[in-house]
Symmetry: C2
């Protein structure tokens, strides 16, 4: 990981690959998470490893939607924590601080490893240390999402269960769909514009996590400074997701067929 020179054309991609391998080794990520990361790598490559215009628009709408939310929650899993723990903490700090751990392969061991990963806080994230973050879903996942397998559907009452807006980076389709069915607004971050998560969510940001989370945080700070009315925020949050996804598909198509 440290051997990749910064000048390498795919430096960031290889750095991220190193992060997920490290997370796997420390027990935060499941084997399935490594394969899933590979799927994401391909889509990122196909969109050109930069934030698409459609994603920039999705980020703006998402920022407004999150600011309007009464109880926004950031749902995290092994992959999203492995890649962007600090970026997610910074984002949560600009909201109500709520981060909920929601694992596809939930085991007590992985839950504890993840809790430690946040607490150990090697990267010395000030926002976490200053207790601005409420880590949910580990000791308090006592509610059950309808239409989702028992373990995968366990959520916190103060978190996802009562949230009005849920941000789901790298979520699986089943659960994203179930959240929508529960009446929540779902903001997905998913590199695959064809996935069920991407298709079913209220807003889908088709972008790589470590690139787009800081942009989303910046946009929230930006909107806060403007002191907009709820009506103005509501307008900004309006988003035609289907259209945006088609734009990304067109981008990929252009990228691979243009010499």
């Amino acid at each position: 990981m440290s051997m990749v020179p910064k000048s390498h054309p795919r430096y960031k991609s290889l750095l991220n690959r190193g992060k997920v391998v490290e997370a796997f080794e420390s027990g935060i990520l499941a084997k399935g998470g490594l394969i899933a990361h590979g799927r994401g790598e391909t889509y990122d490559y196909l969109i050109g490893e930069k934030t698409p215009k459609a994603a920039e628009e999705a980020i703006k709408a998402s920022a407004a939607m999150l600011l309007l939310a009464k109880n926004p929650v950031i749902s995290v899993n092994g992959n999203s924590i492995a890649l962007a723990k600090d970026e997610l903490i910074d984002l949560a700090t600009e909201l109500n601080g709520k981060i909920e751990v929601n694992l596809f392969y939930r085991t007590t061991e992985r839950e504890q490893k993840i809790k430690e990963f946040f607490e150990k806080n090697e990267s010395n994230n000030e926002n976490y240390k200053n207790n601005k973050i409420i880590l949910l879903g580990i000791d308090d996942a006592n509610k059950q999402m309808p239409n989702v397998d028992h373990l995968r559907g366990k959520v916190s009452e103060a978190g996802i269960y009562t949230a009005d807006v849920v941000l789901v980076p790298l979520e699986d389709g089943d659960r994203a769909e179930a959240l929508v069915e529960m009446g929540k607004q779902v903001i997905a971050i998913d590199l695959n514009p064809l996935s069920r998560t991407a298709q079913k969510s209220t807003i889908t940001i088709v972008d790589e996590l470590t690139r787009c989370i800081p942009l989303l945080t910046e946009e929230i700070i930006n909107l806060k400074q403007k002191n907009l009315s709820n009506n103005e925020l509501k307008q900004i949050s309006e988003f035609d997701n289907k259209k945006a996804l088609n734009k990304v598909l067109k981008l990929i198509s252009d990228n691979i067929t243009t010499e």
Copy 2:
């Protein structure tokens, strides 16, 4: 793995995923191999999880090229063995039996695990048991490929070093390119039509391994029965790789932009 019902629309894909996880657990596959499998999954999904027409044509040309070869060698790595060991053995049996192990992350432990995996032969492959296979590259990798890192460039003299045609399923770009520079004809099997391996090889079969290897074996048997002259085989082996790759890119583009 055994819990996936056969009726599942992506049964084969999930079965293959199970195979690579199993190979990882038994030490045959490296962590990087899990991520690489994920990248392949995405491309297979994008081509529609079936053999493209361009791949069928590539398979025909490859069959003729392999029959014309004086010393054809099948290069295998952790992923290709994990997915299609038996299919590769059946293919080698129709040629000179030569399979060479060529690992990206070469360790003595992995070499031995792979040797055992062939010898244990749980799947009871008759062709392996009947000694029709010559497993190279483990005890005899004493030659060095030019322009490739030391460990990754170790090859067998009787195998890749003197081969005129090398079949490289799931090869990395560096090595595929080095093989071409050594003057060999390289037949790649690679789901990513944009990869350096795909672009640099003599013939690239853009298809999933467990689907296309049996088709290639069948085509070789088919051509053998026709008793063709070398000139006739030569004609069949002619192939415009660039054109074929562009056809696959067009297919992906159509798949993702057609509603």
